[in-house]
Amino acid sequence: MRAGAIAERVRTRLPDVVVARDEATVFVERDMLIDALDWLAAEPELGFGFLSSIQATDWPGQVPRFWLAYELRSTALHHRIRVKVGLPEDDPRVPSLTSRFPTANWHEREVFDFYGIVFDGHPELTRILLPDDWEGYPLRKDEELGGVDTRYHGAFIPPVDKRTSA
């Protein structure tokens, strides 16, 4: 199914669907997430039983601050959908999908590692790519890079986040 047809079908159950650049995105509340994913996987015309990826983005100063995007794919029907959940700054937690999608285990650990988003019910929510004693969540936008000026051809070049360009 094309994104438009998927959106039509999904809208019967989950009303908040948008289509952009030939991708369907459905927005759900976090307490509805598991129900929504179960329905998307069980519905024979949709068959979104394969979780490709979990991605987070950080938008400081906005409400909600964090967005999680779950990329779902049907390996039999060859189409995709994205499920997005917004999380507030003061309570960034969401139910874990590990009991339904074992593949979510490492994806969720990665999001926790870089954004500090907590996945309730995850069997071992520890850092995965960074050392265990790392402090902070580096992919948050307000995380300091900690760069220093470097000398280049006699002049000093500021670190990349302190430059005036762009």
């Binding site: 650049r21 979780l51 990826s53 995007a69 060859h78 999608f101 074992p102 790519l129 890079l145």
Partner: protein, 401 residues
């Protein structure tokens, strides 16, 4: 007994660490530990222009640089609403498929080495070297090419490029048959691979496994066929599938995939007879530098330098704007997946409308496939764990990013 396998161990394909609980020779539990090669590629892209992102993502999975570049560029192009010209798309497919062969050769060579087939290691790297020479002639680099750019590719094939690829196509199918003759019925190879590292289709799908591993478990899933990009739907090729679910089936699938890739490369060469542009026309998107090979190597084309410095003020402005500031990409988000040698390589690219990516997330197939390690090795022998990991073909540059 608890044994640390890695992170510095030649048979774990890079800095992969396995925490193994052993009872004699039997693996009771296995816990893969990753992150030793984390370089912050995703964070880095947030502080560079869109074009500079290519040079970062290409370094993630260093055995499939063209695929990283392709996924990133396709994602950015979808955000921009542009499409690469036909010739550029053929070149992208051509280099991706050569890259797939090169990547599978490294896998075959290192797997052979680990299981005692040392001659396979020598042959595998010998043929890969020929492919890398082609890459070097065309892009200037053996790895991390930054060849595929937003809006096309950086330059056309060199004059001798087609001949080099034809020479390679003339010998390579015979070589693949040689590997097959060496290994496919070799009793040691069969003993070490058949029934080893079992992963059923259901387990594979639940664990998010993609690529040759999933296809060796009987699932016909190949993004080139399922969700075609860059015109893959117009090429004639098959998707090899086996149903044994073991290391041997993965070996057989990858061997067959190399043959299919060569078929695609051949079709690409036919299509390249048609001349054409390799970069979009739009001066607000196309990287302006024209490169040419001079007596001292690749550099800016003197013709182009004369054009912007002496003839056209507007061209100079475009050049300055796009090199100093970069393209600006409309706000939005896109997830673009391509079929890399290891499976679904996805790029989730978010723009806030600025000159830099707001977020680039690489869904690397090795990262996800590695999660299947415990399922494959627990309950088996320690020696078989090595064969099982080899059959996953993880590239830690991609896992850790």
């Amino acid at each position: 007994m608890i044994v640390n396998l890695g992170p510095q161990h030649p048979s774990t394909h890079g800095v992969l660490r396995l925490l193994l609980e052993l009872d004699g020779e039997t693996v009771i539990s296995c816990r893969p530990i990753v992150g030793y090669l984390h370089t912050g590629i995703e964070k880095n892209t947030e502080y560079r222009t869109w074009q500079q992102g290519v040079t970062f993502v290409t370094r993630a999975d260093y055995l499939s640089p063209f695929f990283n570049e392709l996924a990133y560029c396709l994602a950015v192009e979808r955000l921009l609403g542009v499409e690469a010209p036909p010739r550029a798309q053929v070149l992208r497919v051509l280099f991706c498929e050569l890259n797939r062969v090169a990547s599978h050769l490294v896998w075959l060579a290192t797997s052979g080495l680990e299981l005692g087939a040392i001659s396979m290691m020598l042959y595998g790297f010998r043929e890969r070297e020929v492919i890398l020479d082609i890459f070097e002639a065309a892009t200037g680099l053996r790895m991390n090419h930054s060849y595929i750019r937003i809006g096309g590719v950086v330059m056309d094939l060199p004059d001798d490029g087609e001949q080099r690829i034809r020479d390679f196509l003339a010998v390579m199918p015979g070589r693949i048959s040689e590997y097959e003759a060496l290994l496919a019925r070799n009793p040691i190879w069969l003993e070490r691979n058949r029934g080893i590292g079992l992963l059923s289709a259901d387990d594979g799908l639940a664990l998010g496994v993609t690529g040759p591993i999933l296809r060796a478990s009987g699932v016909t899933a190949d993004l080139r066929k399922d969700e075609p990009y860059s015109g893959y739907e117009t090429y004639d090729f098959d998707v090899p599938v086996r149903t044994e679910c073991d290391s041997y089936a993965r070996f057989a699938v990858r061997l067959e995939e190399m043959r299919e890739s060569l078929r695609i490369v051949e079709q690409c060469l036919e299509r390249l007879q048609e001349p054409g542009a390799v970069m979009v026309e739009d001066p607000k998107v196309a990287w302006p530098a024209r490169l040419s090979v001079g007596p001292d190597g690749i550099g800016n084309d003197p013709e182009y330098i004369r054009h912007i410095m002496e003839e056209s003020m507007e061209a100079l402005i475009h050049h300055f704007k796009i090199v100093a500031q970069g393209v600006s990409v409309p706000a939005g988000e896109v997830y673009q997946a391509v079929e890399s040698p290891r499976g679904e390589l996805g790029m989730y690219v978010v723009s806030d409308g600025g000159h830099r990516p707001y977020r680039v997330k690489i869904r690397d197939p090795s990262f996800v496939n590695l999660q299947a390690t415990p399922t494959m090795v627990e309950g088996g022998l320690l020696a078989d764990a090595i064969a099982a990991i080899a059959s996953i073909d993880p590239v830690l540059g991609g896992v850790d990013r």
